[in-house]
């Protein structure tokens, strides 16, 4: 069953075509990765899908709701964890989580239940009363994802979730993301090839706003005639894969 259907989505910034006639389908419960070099159009695609940027033409349907005509309905079923950690620095971890519950209008009982759930899921118990500004990079990322998950989204956008993290923090976050796989639909953008390969159900590679390929990591490697996913990515982006 499809979670996202993108139909000929296009976005131009002056003379630059950031996303060019993009069409693809993402299934419910999939962990779908968007890959591409800088300027490929990944972030613009996510911004259009999360109703932050208006498309110039085309449309996308998130669980059947149009991003062009039903933005409020789309916003009620999605959550975004931006590239920057995007937390309230002088609020504690608990207060940050309670803030999002307040914005979604959860009653007190549900708020307490959801906060406890996210603390357990993201392993935030040791820092629950710490101000967000004082957290390490890894914990800030966990909090960022917890803030996105607490609103019970059907579709979650993770924009470079492990950017700048050390190896251990990244491995911890991978475990958390893996645990979410199948429960909600996740769209992930990353520059780390091994991350996309390890986590994704399917991967789309973009260049200059265009979709080059969309398949499983194995099929992409087969297509590029290599055993190494990073090499496959390079070949496809350079246009060397036949």
């Amino acid at each position: 069953m499809e979670a996202i259907r993108i139909e000929n989505l296009t976005k131009k910034y002056k003379d630059v075509v950031a996303v060019d006639n993009l069409s693809l389908t993402i299934l419910k419960g999939e962990l779908f990765s968007l890959l591409g070099v800088n300027g490929a159009g990944k972030t613009t695609t996510i911004k259009m899908l999360s109703c932050l940027t208006k498309a110039d033409s085309g449309d996308a349907f998130l669980n059947g709701k149009s991003i062009t005509t039903e933005a409020d309905a789309v916003k009620s079923i999605i959550a975004v964890s931006p590239q920057e950690t995007a937390v309230a620095p002088n609020l504690t971890v608990r207060e940050n989580l309670e803030l999002i519950c307040g914005i979604y209008g959860f009653p007190k009982e549900k708020t307490n239940q959801k906060v406890a759930e996210q603390i357990r899921l993201l392993g935030l118990d040791s820092v629950i009363n710490k101000k967000a500004a004082k957290l390490s990079g890894g914990y800030k990322r966990r909090l960022s994802i917890a803030l996105a998950l607490i609103s019970e989204p059907e579709i979650l956008f993770l924009d470079e979730p492990t950017l700048g993290l050390d190896v251990l923090a990244r491995a911890d976050l991978w475990d958390i993301i893996r645990a979410l796989k199948g429960k909600i639909t996740i769209i992930l953008t990353t520059h780390y090839m091994e991350e996309a390969e390890a986590l994704s159900s399917r991967i789309a590679i973009m260049k200059s706003g265009k979709l080059l390929i969309c398949d499983t990591a194995e099929k992409i490697k087969e297509y590029a005639k290599t055993e190494n996913f990073e090499e496959a990515f390079v070949r496809i982006v350079r246009g060397e894969a036949i």
Binding site: K47, S50, C51, L52, T53, D72, K75, S76, I78, A79, V80, S81, P82, Q83, E84, T85, A86, V87, A88, P89, N90, L91, E95, E98, L99, I100, C101, G102, I103, Y104, G105, K131, L147, A148, S151
Partner: protein, 243 residues
């Protein structure tokens, strides 16, 4: 509900920043005590407590512009606002959520200022209470300026524009530190056309019980306040759509 949750967050962010407390409350208090000490040694009519305290109460408001601009610009640059734009929050929730928490801080700031003035010899009467109430239109003007600067500039620019330029403009063109009549000419014309002197003169007139004199200044303050607010809302929504 959404707006209340956001308001609560902004109040905590503002009150938990030690720099805000130091500048918002500490600096005006230090000024009032320092200038009163100077006045005690070298009497200057401008620094008599009846004349000085309304000016200091208004000068403290210029820091509110810095506070509101800083929190908005930091929320923009840290992508916290981008996160909230993908929630069901509406533009009005953001604008009221940023504006309303600063009003009680402005009232508290002016109460602290007048309490200090009473300690330094200001006669206690009902006009002090009215001065505190009528600080609200001036506070709205300064908060709207903060909303405008926060929507237009990043946090580094806000530090320069609101922290340095605006506090200086507000100090030089308000008649708090020297009598603008004595400078006269173009300087006085410019000062009269800008809102800063009117915010101070309104406070002085109310504290002295001269409400007829306060009224024309109130129209200036309200006129500028509403204009700044409308422009600020326009630019806030514009940057929201730009996201």
């Amino acid at each position: 509900m959404k707006m209340l949750a956001f308001m609560g967050r902004n109040t905590k962010e503002l009150l938990r920043d030690p720099i805000n407390l130091a500048f918002g409350l500490g600096f005006p208090l230090a000024l009032i005590f320092l200038l009163s000490a100077i006045q005690a040694n070298i009497p200057v009519s401008l620094f008599e407590i009846q004349h000085l305290s309304p000016g200091i109460a208004v000068f403290g408001l210029s820091f509110l512009t810095l506070f509101s601009a800083t929190i908005i610009s930091k929320d923009r640059t840290s992508a916290f606002l981008q996160r909230l734009y993908t929630t069901p929050m509406k533009p009005l929730d953001f604008i009221l959520g940023y504006t309303l928490p600063i009003i009680p801080i402005a009232v508290l700031q002016s109460i602290v200022c007048y309490v200090a003035a009473i300690i330094l010899g200001l006669k206690m009467n009902v006009n002090i209470l009215l001065s505190v109430i009528f600080i609200i239109p001036s506070a709205l003007l300064y908060i709207a300026l903060g909303l405008l600067c926060g929507s237009l500039f990043n946090d580094k620019q806000v530090g320069g524009i609101c922290g340095a330029l605006l506090t200086n403009l507000s100090a030089w063109l308000s008649g708090i530190w020297f009598d603008i009549e004595l400078v006269g000419g173009t300087f006085k014309t410019i000062a009269d056309l800008l809102p800063f002197i009117h915010t101070v003169e309104m406070q002085r007139a109310i504290l002295n019980g001269n409400f007829t004199k306060a009224l024309p200044h109130l129209w200036w303050v309200l006129g500028y306040g509403i204009t700044f607010l409308v422009v600020a809302v326009f630019f806030f929504i514009r940057q929201m759509k730009k996201q």
